[in-house]
Symmetry: C2
């Protein structure tokens, strides 16, 4: 990057908030996905940490004038390669903008800067008896800005929806450097196009998010957790469909396959039968009076569809123990192979049994290991490919397998990504789902808002 640009950026954010050394810039060549920027070709020119919206605006004005790519970044926990450097770019890190600006129980809203950590917002609102449901696995370190940019989901999606269902207003900086407010503080708001939802999930390609207004809901009074063990994964899948079909909506409905079960048991010793085909972790929440009835109904369905073991947590500690199995899942399989590729293809709930079978067939065909874990309640399966990126021959088979998973997903009426985003990882597949007309329209929108293509170029649509 030209030194005069770096000097100007330094003037904007202050010399303590700008990084240009090689060892610093290396950090932005990767995020939590398996996509990595080319260290020679794609190293960033500079990383800046603005402290407020005005600084973000000045940075974008400069970048737009000079046609320098800008990659917005929160905690870098993105799992689709959406926040990594692309050539001689500016990495714009929002982490210093980390203030919770308002907690407003009267209006059931919170206003935060985009660098606020999601779980921090959650604990603050829970202290007031309120609830911000979206719970991506990264919630302890990912930022609200990143969650909004990716439209993050999580286990609670099955009952409570995802980030887009809670964002009702934004302050963003456009590529031109202009500041724009969208939406507002009311649930009902139909003044103009819904820019808030357009920007939610736009993966840093249309604007830089600086402030977020989210709606909150009352914190459910109580919850109840159970685990059901099945000999065959098909039985677990049918159970998921049946629970939904009878009108029960648990706040989590998580599926673990045998590969996960065996590895979790080896790693965390939570007492899972290692010969089980699948385990369902189920949680219901709401008024204390009705949880027992709900758990009872779910238990009946599980037994009817062949559960060989059911554990209902009697205490908070027991519930925590059941969740420990789920939480240690990624760590557990990370021991098997050095490279873990977590896909998040999502299918209509009733297609889960077929989708699981197709994934297993694809794994067999290409002789690779694919473990399945997922937010089965909303069809969001995480097919986890356990591989080794150093083994190029195997990686070639992995890539073919991933292609086939995506094709199967779309054939089943599903989505390439439920909650991870398209990023750089899946951009080549996007027309598979949205079609040529869909892509063209999205291109037009990108072009209208970012005519110089400075914001996160290559993300979502490819080069």
């Amino acid at each position: 990057m030209r030194s005069e640009v770096i000097q100007k950026l330094s003037d904007i954010v202050g010399k303590d908030n700008i990084y240009t050394s090689l060892e610093d810039l290396y950090c932005y060549t990767y995020d939590a996905s398996f996509v990595k920027a080319d260290l020679k070709k794609d190293l960033a020119g500079v990383a800046v940490y603005p402290g407020n919206t005005e600084e973000v605006a000045q940075i974008l004005k400069l970048a737009n004038r000079e046609r320098i790519p800008v990659v917005p970044r929160g905690a870098g926990s993105n799992v689709s390669g959406g926040s990594i450097s692309v050539g001689d770019c500016i990495i714009l890190v929002l982490k210093r903008m980390n203030k919770i600006l308002e907690l407003d129980p009267k209006n059931l809203i919170a206003v935060v800067e985009s660098g606020v950590i999601t779980s921090q917002l959650q604990s603050e609102v829970e202290r007031l008896g309120l609830f911000y449901p979206p719970d991506p696995a990264s919630q302890a370190f990912s930022t609200m800005g990143g969650n909004v940019a990716e439209c993050a989901g999580g286990p609670r999606g099955v009952k409570y929806g995802v980030t887009r269902d809670y964002v009702i207003g934004l302050e963003v900086v456009l590529p031109s450097g202009e500041v724009m407010n969208t939406g507002g503080r009311t649930i009902k708001n139909v003044t103009g196009y819904d820019m808030t939802k357009l920007f939610t999930g736009s993966e840093g390609t249309l604007c830089v998010i600086t402030k977020i207004i989210v709606k909150l809901i009352p914190l459910p009074e109580a919850k109840s957790t159970m685990m059901a063990v099945f000999s065959e994964i098909e039985q677990a899948c049918e159970t998921v469909s049946e629970i939904i079909a009878v009108g029960l909506v648990p706040c989590a409905l998580e599926l673990l396959d045998n590969i996960y079960i065996r590895n979790i048991e080896e790693y965390a010793k939570v007492g899972l039968p290692t010969d089980a085909g699948a385990v369902l972790l189920i949680e219901v929440d709401g008024d204390a009076e009705i949880l027992g009835k709900q758990i009872g109904k779910i238990e009946q369905i599980c037994r009817r569809l062949g559960a060989v073991q059911i554990r209902v947590a009697k205490t908070k500690e027991e519930a925590e123990e059941l969740w420990r199995a789920r939480r240690s899942a990624f760590a557990a399989v990370s021991r098997v192979k050095p490279t873990i590729i977590g896909e998040d293809a999502t299918v209509p709930r009733s297609s889960i049994p077929v989708a699981v079978r197709r994934i297993q067939e694809i794994a067999a065909k290409y002789n690779i290991i694919i473990a399945i874990l997922g937010h089965a309640g909303d069809g969001n399966l995480h097919a986890t490919i356990l591989t080794d990126e150093m083994n190029l021959e195997e990686m070639a088979r992995v890539e073919k397998a991933i292609d086939e998973i995506f094709i199967a997903t779309v054939e089943l009426g599903g989505s390439l990504s439920g909650e991870h985003g398209i990023g750089r990882a899946k951009s080549k597949f996007i027309t598979l789902q949205i079609g040529d007309v869909g892509l063209e329209v999205q291109h037009q929108i990108k072009k209208a808002l970012d005519p110089n293509n400075i914001l996160n170029p290559g993300v979502m649509f490819g080069a």
Copy 2:
């Protein structure tokens, strides 16, 4: 309209589905708003009733080529002048496309053509124990396509949100005549920009909606209805805030002021005390076991904040009787004056008391009658102006009063429209809320998708 164009349109939809006579075209110069097209200048050239997506596509291709404005229209129940003719245009009525294509309880979704009547979908899904919550007052005759185009709301918005919260996929025809599918059948879906939400509430300016995929939820087991009477409207407003602030979320929380109360009582004889300052109609729903507790808590709050009378419905019939008061509201005030202008400015819930006071002050200042009724639970006040459009001197005062209501709404952090849309009625106010930058960005999007400005020109942004 040129006869060759009419001939081509007739070839597309068939001669039984095209209307060109003066008396037919007059019908499209108005909708349910007070906006009326100029009978000389703005009479449509033709109205067509296509029977399927392919016909819609052909119509738009023709219109785009010939640069003829197209006004999409459902039942014409729009309350912001969003579906009326504009010059020598094509009125594109979607009412023949009225099939419920799929009811899928396993995946909790329904797929409908855009001409399906909202309440028809609702009764069909309720027979399966499912629920499509959005309940605009027009639900018995308005179409799903219209509801999506306007992002319709209703009393249940306070608990269940609005149309946008249920639309997860669309089939639309773009101004070019190309057919595009957005979203899909999964709740979690982050592949590309959220075009579904961008099109929801776009008021027929970006595309013509032909199919809609909505998510459904389980039908609540039971509901309980009560009415609380207050001497002063401020007490009722405070009660609304307090109910929300303690974490109770009724499925309806409706406010009627003294003007409404007196007129409803005169008209419908439901036993309201005509000297009351305000009445709250409150409904909770959910599992039968917990409704009593919830109603009890709400009753306590009402009493504490000064309710002079509380009626809790003991039977379905009693609940129906309480709702009869609310439902007869518009009919009741329609007897007072010939012209009823229903605004739907929406403020953050905690600002309801101030907003009500401001509206009353504005009414006094301009010496006009403004009755207040509203979905108070979500801040969506319907300030109802009772006037006479033949009285030009009074109408001038009415217009000034409306201006002031909008200014006050935005000052209070609210929205010009909660659920009615901007249409032609409020387009001149749009920058008040979204600002010049916001307007410019929305213009860019409109231009990108509809470069020849053929779709509903003048709606939302003005001429």
